[in-house]
């Protein structure tokens, strides 16, 4: 596969490490809530697994060390968009 890196252009997927569903960004912030275990279990163990477009995290380990959010079809492997994960994380409300 080839991932079109937003900064570096097309790179072979073997330069990257795969993590999974972009939801892994959405770590529960309230670690003291009464149902925090339930929330963290859902965060840690229930991920989207669609047959179709999938937003997923890839790490350019043999490149610029950036984490990317790749939108890839799990039936055809067609990649429709690649974003810098840091921007996506901020857009999902993560900060300090």
């Amino acid at each position: 596969m080839i991932i079109n890196h937003p900064l570096l252009g097309p790179r072979d997927a073997s330069e990257f490490a795969y993590l999974g569903d972009v939801g892994i960004i959405d770590r529960p912030t309230d670690w003291q809530a009464d149902d925090s275990i339930k929330n963290f279990v859902e965060y840690g163990y229930l991920r989207d697994n669609p047959a179709g477009d999938h937003k997923e995290l890839w790490y350019h380990e043999q490149g610029d060390r950036s984490w990317l959010v790749v939108t890839r079809n799990t039936l055809t492997h067609e990649i429709s968009s690649v974003e810098m994960a840091r921007d996506v994380a901020r857009s999902r409300g993560r900060g300090k």
Binding site: Y18, A51, T74
Partner: protein, 416 residues
């Protein structure tokens, strides 16, 4: 029709005209006691044991393609019970015992061949881990044997002992492990279930799961609605898609595992061998092909195909331990979609929906589990009680923290 050498001779002498269809091709009836979604190995063995052991015959198996078209038809055929943890090992040992009597039980030769499986180790740490594992196998009544490098040099002289990047220090044997003819396993179970009245319905895809006030009452299919008091999901790589029909999210990701076979060769490998410093396992089929595999491609996918880097990585692992295979040729590669669970261990459990049951998360342990998976699933469906060797294979184990993580890889499916 009973199969035997005498039947074979009789048919041979009369032009093989007397052979009967191995199974019927029935149309779906409007209602069953139990519907099993998925006519793969686990679904068919579930139907077989339901009908044979638990006397439940008003059962239908719904298969969207042809029977055995799932991972039972695309795996590396290895059977073993060399697990570590209490949640797994007794289950897989139960499975291996069922394998050992499968042909007599089903009157179908699925070529169960206990040619042994050998896990090579290359460091002292790996040896210690294998000792722990081997002892756990003993504790569950299985067999295990530790072999040092000297013994392996005698038994497998053609492994690379002298010029290796990761020298072979020894290995963990399970002599009762081995292989089986994967398609024949599905056919044997299908034949046995069919002969006991189970309807195996091919080309019948489930398109909806009907739920009324929290209770599952049946399914919608490409061949019409079918009612049932119990609906049992058993669809391995398609678990995510089918469970979604019931609005369920699962602790499972779908990944592709590639497998490979070489051109036919005269016998070179007695049993199954696995490499400890790269992910590689290999055996030789009765037809003579080297059957081997390795790591997942590593990304979520439902496409039954993989990519080149993993092909190369797997074969590199092979050449690293057995450099004599260099001039053998890769004949065919294919991919199976694995239902990779979050801790690498499976589920056989009720769901939160009354009357809806789930069997999945087999990762790439699915084939060897086929008999026990079916037996324990049948037990659960028939008695609404988990079988004693499957009590820990629950969907809620992540909430309780009773995770069954053989590899210690954590909640990262593609690492298991």
């Amino acid at each position: 029709m009973q199969y035997s050498v005498f039947r074979l001779l009789k048919e041979g002498l009369t032009g093989n005209r007397g052979w009967k269809p191995v199974w019927r091709e029935p149309d779906p009836r409007p209602e069953y006691d139990i519907i099993i979604i998925g006519g793969g190995g686990h679904g068919l063995s579930t139907a077989y044991y339901l009908s044979k052991v638990f006397g439940r015959r008003n059962v239908a198996v719904l298969e969207k393609g042809w029977l055995g078209s799932g991972n039972i038809g695309r795996n590396t055929t290895i059977i073993r019970s060399n697990y570590l943890l209490e949640g797994n090992q007794p289950f897989y040992e139960f499975s291996l015992k069922l394998w050992e009597n499968l042909e007599r039980d089903t009157n179908y030769n699925s070529m169960v061949s206990q040619r042994s499986i050998l896990n090579l180790y290359h460091t002292d740490g790996q040896r210690d881990a294998y000792v722990r594992r081997g002892n756990a196998m003993f504790l569950s009544g299985a067999d295990a044997e530790l072999a040092d490098a000297a013994q392996l040099r005698k038994e497998l002289p053609y492994l690379d002992f002298d010029d290796a990047r990761f020298p072979i220090l020894g290995g963990l044997y399970q002599k009762r492990g081995g292989t089986a003819r994967h398609d024949a396993v599905a056919w044997g179970y299908a034949r046995g279930a069919d002969s006991r009245g189970v309807d195996i319905i091919q080309n019948c895809e489930v398109t909806g799961i009907d739920i009324k006030n929290g209770k599952c009452i049946g399914v919608q299919t490409t061949r019409g609605a079918i009612r049932a008091s119990k609906v049992a999901m058993c669809v391995a790589g398609s678990s995510g898609r089918v469970a979604a029909l019931a609005g369920m999210r699962l602790p499972i990701e779908s990944h592709v595992l590639q497998a490979f076979v070489s051109e036919g060769l005269k016998p070179v490998l007695p049993g199954v061998v696995t490499f400890g410093m790269g992910h590689f396992y290999i055996s030789q089929s009765d037809k003579g092909g080297l059957v081997f595999g390795g790591d997942l491609d590593g990304y979520n996918t439902y496409a039954q195909r993989g990519n080149l880097p993993v092909v190369e990585d797997v074969v590199e692992g092979g050449m690293a331990i057995m450099p004599f295979i260099g001039r053998a040729r890769l004949l065919r590669s294919w991919g199976g979609v694995m239902d990779m669970s979050m801790d690498g261990s499976p589920f056989i459990d009720k769901t939160h929906i009354d009357g809806l049951y789930f069997n999945g998360g087999w990762c790439y342990g699915g084939f060897k589990a086929t008999p026990a998976s079916g037996y324990c699933y049948a037990h659960l469906l028939a008695k609404d009680e988990p079988h004693p060797v499957a009590t820990q294979l629950r969907l809620d184990r992540f909430q309780t923290g009773n995770i069954i993580d053989e590899k210690g890889a954590g909640n990262q499916p593609n690492l298991h």
